[in-house]
């Protein structure tokens, strides 16, 4: 059977979104909010398991966003960091570090620990990449806390986070690297991309080859609401460098690509023999739920370029990487995941992998 895994996030229940707003306004207490988080995690895991997905996540129900969960609430950050523009004109602003030392407030293994109370199938855990958090450090620098000191601390924090997730038994730890494609928009010379790759490799190199078999990297053009931040950047700019990352598993957005065969050709030519490619067969931005047959065909199309023993399927992106994103419903997300699981089973049968 071809392996199939989700990326991470599922839209939050309306009650949780209201609860978070209420907490910010002082109407909801911390214990009440914690109960809402716990309830959302439990419900999400039950419903993900009901889709038949052999590997699940906690739907990132308690994360503020895929990129800022670990630093949310830190006193030494300000909300006025780097703006990230999306194609529909909306902007998400990254926080800015205001002082050292840098430490995570809530690393991903905390979320994993909560999810493990409810899960009956293997859990994967998404973590934000070091390269994304490198954007936290301000342009003008910080007095008495150099960029090198910050990067050192960041690498150590992420190493610890991944190591604890692996130790707790995460099926796989997935490093979210959506800024890879964005970096080419910010710097077409690709120097920024190369620095991102180098920085992430500094983290990955701290793990043994055996441990790296349980580490993956996710790339996509950054879906949020009904838009993306870098879908207009040609994959040809990213993929050759992407596979320089010292990870084993790659979760590559593909379903929404206009020319999938071209991307698959690039993957075939550029990925290393030991790297497994999970191709996106579900487009979370498209409100229409894919049929299992569509998924099957996309997986089989990928199998023409990538040997089945190195192939897996996934979603193009999380369904709500930012906690306040209500542009998709939970029901649609679960239906799409169910289609991915069923379609992957169909493709496996055709490939004789049952």
């Amino acid at each position: 059977m071809l392996p199939t895994e989700p990326i991470g996030s599922i839209p939050r229940p309306a009650a949780l979104i209201d609860g978070v707003r209420g907490f910010a306004a002082g109407r909801v207490s911390q214990p009440e909010l914690d109960a809402l988080y716990e309830s959302a995690v439990k419900d999400t895991i039950q419903r993900l398991e009901a889709t038949g997905s052999p590997v699940i996540t906690d739907g990132e129900q308690a994360k503020h966003s895929f990129a800022t969960y670990s630093i949310y609430g830190l006193e030494n950050t300000a909300p006025d960091g780097m703006p990230i523009s999306f194609a529909d004109g909306h902007i998400r602003t990254f926080p800015r570090l205001t002082a050292g030392p840098f430490r995570y407030k809530t690393p991903a293994d905390v979320y994993l620990g909560i999810a493990q109370r409810y899960a009956h199938v293997p859990l994967k855990q998404a973590v934000v990449s070091a390269s994304a958090l490198s954007l936290l450090y301000p342009r003008g620098g910080i007095r008495s806390y150099s960029r090198e000191e910050y990067l050192d601390a960041l690498i150590a924090e992420q190493e610890g986070e991944i190591r604890r997730c692996l130790k707790k038994g995460a099926h796989v730890v997935q490093m979210d690297f959506t800024e890879g494609r964005l970096s080419i928009k910010l710097d077409p010379t690709r120097r920024l991309l190369h620095s991102f790759i180098d920085l992430n490799n500094l983290v990955l190199e701290r793990f043994s080859a055996e441990q790296r078999k349980r580490i993956g990297v996710h790339t996509c053009p950054g879906a949020d609401r009904h838009s993306t931040h870098s879908a207009d950047v040609d994959y040809a700019e990213l993929l050759p460098s992407l596979f320089e990352l010292q990870a084993t598993n790659f979760y590559v957005q593909l379903a929404s690509e206009p020319d999938r065969k071209r991307v698959l050709t690039m993957i075939r030519d550029r990925a290393k023999d030991w790297q497994r490619i999970f191709v996106g067969v579900i487009d979370p931005l498209n409100p229409r739920v894919e049929t299992p047959e569509e998924v099957r065909d996309r997986a089989l199309e990928a199998a023409e370029y990538i040997r089945p023993e190195r192939l897996g399927t996934t979603d193009d992106c999380g369904f709500a990487p930012f906690s306040d994103d209500t542009s998709r419903t939970r029901e649609t997300a679960f239906d799409k995941i169910r289609a991915r699981v069923a379609g992957t089973a169909l493709a496996s049968a055709v490939l004789g992998l049952e």
Binding site: P83, R147, E148, Y150, I184, L186, T189, L192
Partner: protein
Amino acid sequence: MQDQRDAHEASLDRLHRRLRTLCQCTMTFFHAESEQELLQSVCEILVAGGEVRLAWIGYCEDDAEKLVRPVAQAGSGLDYLERVETSWGERETGQGPAGIAARTGKACCVDDIRTDPRFSPWRVAALARGYASCIAVPLMTDGKSRGAVDLRGTLNLYSAECNAFDESAIEHYTGLAMSVAYAVTALRGHLAEDLAHGVTAVRASAERKRAEEALHQAREELAHVTRVTTLGELAASIAHEINQPLAAIIADANACLHWLEADRPDLDSVREALAAVVKDGDRAAEVITRIRGLLARASVAHGPCDLARVIGDVLPLVRPELEQHGMTLKMSLAPDLPLVRGDRIQLQQVLLNLLVNAVEASREVPPERRQLIVHSTVEYRDDGRWAVIGVEDFGVGFREPEVARMFEAFYTTKPGGLGMGLSISRSIIEAHRGRLWATANVNHGATFRFALPEMR
């Protein structure tokens, strides 16, 4: 006259429009949040200005093919850029305006695409899209100015008219390209450059750490090899040390068997002999345990370490060697030797090495000089108490010029010696924040001492 006036006015109007367009381009420098946005805006503004039909910006790839890669484009016939290849190398596709501008750093103008031979590789595609003339101006920074990053590219403009780019146009667009390059540099500065510097520094630090760890591991392995070699030199003596109790055990066991065969066994004698068996067995086991400790390839483990115990561990291993060579051993140990922080096995190795060297140095001297003194003292220094261990012999000694070299790796006076013992011993002691040194005795022989600070 009227024609001249009309031409003059048309020229003025064109100039006026161009300056307005350039002004709009300049405004985008202040608003663009990313390099891509900046480059794209410039292309779009230039096309909207009406003077050009196609505007694109290409970056020079520093690869084997030396391609000029389009990174922003606007205007009519954008598929032109997908169909043609432009290089800044020496081959044919590098002989067009973009290639020349990128190589020379100067603007290159093609007044008539139909006839200019430099444009022949792209002529058909260009004419099909209504381009009649073009200009490429360099988009460059040299990377030398403060905060700048290397940038090599071209701004390429195509007009529907022949001879569209006169002297003033060349000057204006060259100035614009310089400004764009400056703006790009400023935009990139905080991201790519700062991060690259930071990552490079962190990687250098990680690699330095990795190299130090590799060196440390190599030292440990070398120390292990040296320990094994030293023990190999002592093999005969150690075998003797184990054989003695084994022989006693066999003798006592045989005696027991004999006594037990009697009608009324002398159980008191049996009990006494068996107690001796246990004692000899323990003695042999102790020797083996010490050897196993020295042979183990265990990683260094620093902890509280009693140097008196280290001496007690090592002496039984060399005692048979001393006896074999007719050497006498004297001890002069301080009763209040402070505890030090260290790795017991490594410190045993150092002492063992000093003792074996002392035996070697005493082999050939007259019997009355075959003496070995192991002493320990406490020194009081500004930074606290130090434990000092000395090994003194009256052997062949050394000459003063040899002192500097004897701690060097691969320096040996022993036939077949590795020449690593003292070098490794000194690095071990220094890794313990201590000191190892040698002095020639006044009459005969030498004294080697190592000093270690009290554990805090």
